[in-house]
Subunit: 136 residues, 4 copies
């Protein structure tokens, strides 16, 4: 089981849309925030030193229940799978009060070498870094 990162966000008026619930696009920012927090320790260094870029290739997201003004959501972020050149995040958003699932998503990335623009082969050292089993 991979390490899980918890991110809490208070739902404000500016997160809502005309239906008075959180807009579908805003959830992707919430999920992105969760992923930045998950890789907080390595993201800047990895980008600058290792020279790789995380590029999203697919998002598959289920919207299960609306989040509304005054709700607190809890984003749980972990790595589901690491392949040769890709990795998949599993992210679930809960209503922090009643524990119901608001949405869940799988986010697939490829990792590109910034210089060549080509996929970066994920070796064992890099794999352990991505799994947060080691730090830089």
């Amino acid at each position: 089981m991979t390490e899980k990162t918890i991110t809490k966000i208070d739902i404000r008026g500016y997160h809502l849309d005309g239906y008075q619930h959180v807009n579908n696009a805003r959830y992707l920012e919430f999920l992105e925030e969760g992923r930045w927090q998950h890789y907080e320790n390595i993201s800047v260094e990895a980008y600058e030193k290792l020279g790789f870029a995380f590029v999203i290739v697919n998002i598959n997201i289920n919207y299960r229940l609306p989040a509304v003004f005054g709700d607190v959501i809890r984003i749980e972020t972990n790595i589901e799978k690491i392949g040769n050149t890709s990795l998949i995040f599993n992210q679930v958003i809960f209503n922090d009060k009643n524990e119901k699932i608001v949405c869940d998503a799988k986010i697939t990335f490829v990792i590109l070498n910034q210089k060549t623009g080509k996929p970066f082969i994920i070796d064992e050292t890099f794999r352990q870094l991505l799994l947060k089993e080691v730090s830089m």
Copy 2:
């Protein structure tokens, strides 16, 4: 083949993120804009008179190539399938100059009765309206 709606958007500086390409969340706003245009003639009336609400239950989106400053994207929006209580949009975003696919997505909605909050059964009349074979 269902009617297709074309939406063009010029990519500006405020659409980009730190990687200097359009951010993953912004595409969902672009797709939403495409859907509003697709149902421009019925959206306000349908909402107010018929009392139904379109609620997204799933988005499955592939990001194939980045869109950058100065690009013009073309969103093609059509209905892929209408079920008993749900409908699926098919949306493809092209780079309008080189015709390459930037991203493609399937967006699944259920239609809820605003008063009861329960799914709305899509009968033949409503189905024709959603397929734009008739107007209100």
Copy 3:
């Protein structure tokens, strides 16, 4: 001197625009977040029980230095002035590491009675509530 609320935000890739600094519009969301936190204890109740709505009539914002990826910003929010039917927030955003001012803003609101849509006269009791000298 009125009570000051501190809000810290980590700058992420999705906060930036094509110039790779925080976009001008995003700062207004940061400031709005600061104001929600300032009135966290009264905002829901005030809206629902007292029936008033805060409506922005003017924003005057100076952008002094860019905020970039990896920065932590600190928003300081307090009330500058309360008039008969309006109030002015003073908000300053600092770079939390070097203490330089990133931007500063005055945000002027009128308070409307939700039912009548007319300005709400700010009496002494309400004034103390807005100044956080008393709680509901």
Copy 4:
């Protein structure tokens, strides 16, 4: 009188916030869109060839009336003043049906030399370019 650029935008559900009117931050994106359209012919070239960057130093915006779902807004953008190193845009947003002013804003920019990061002196040739009296 300087040339005026007209931009029309249909207000959609995703432009609104929890109050069901257009959020204060979204207007800044609308204004930015208006400015890109105003300088559509020179923006890419100016940035790449001339090597200058437009940097906002102040926004002073009055929110006069709400824009809601189904409204069409019309943004009028022109240059109010050009100084030695700065320029001021005047932008007014109208409700396109009833001609009422939704908001109006003055946006002050300095123009920086991208290489030195220092202000760019606006000479007569550049001034005419900014006033759209000549093209590149």
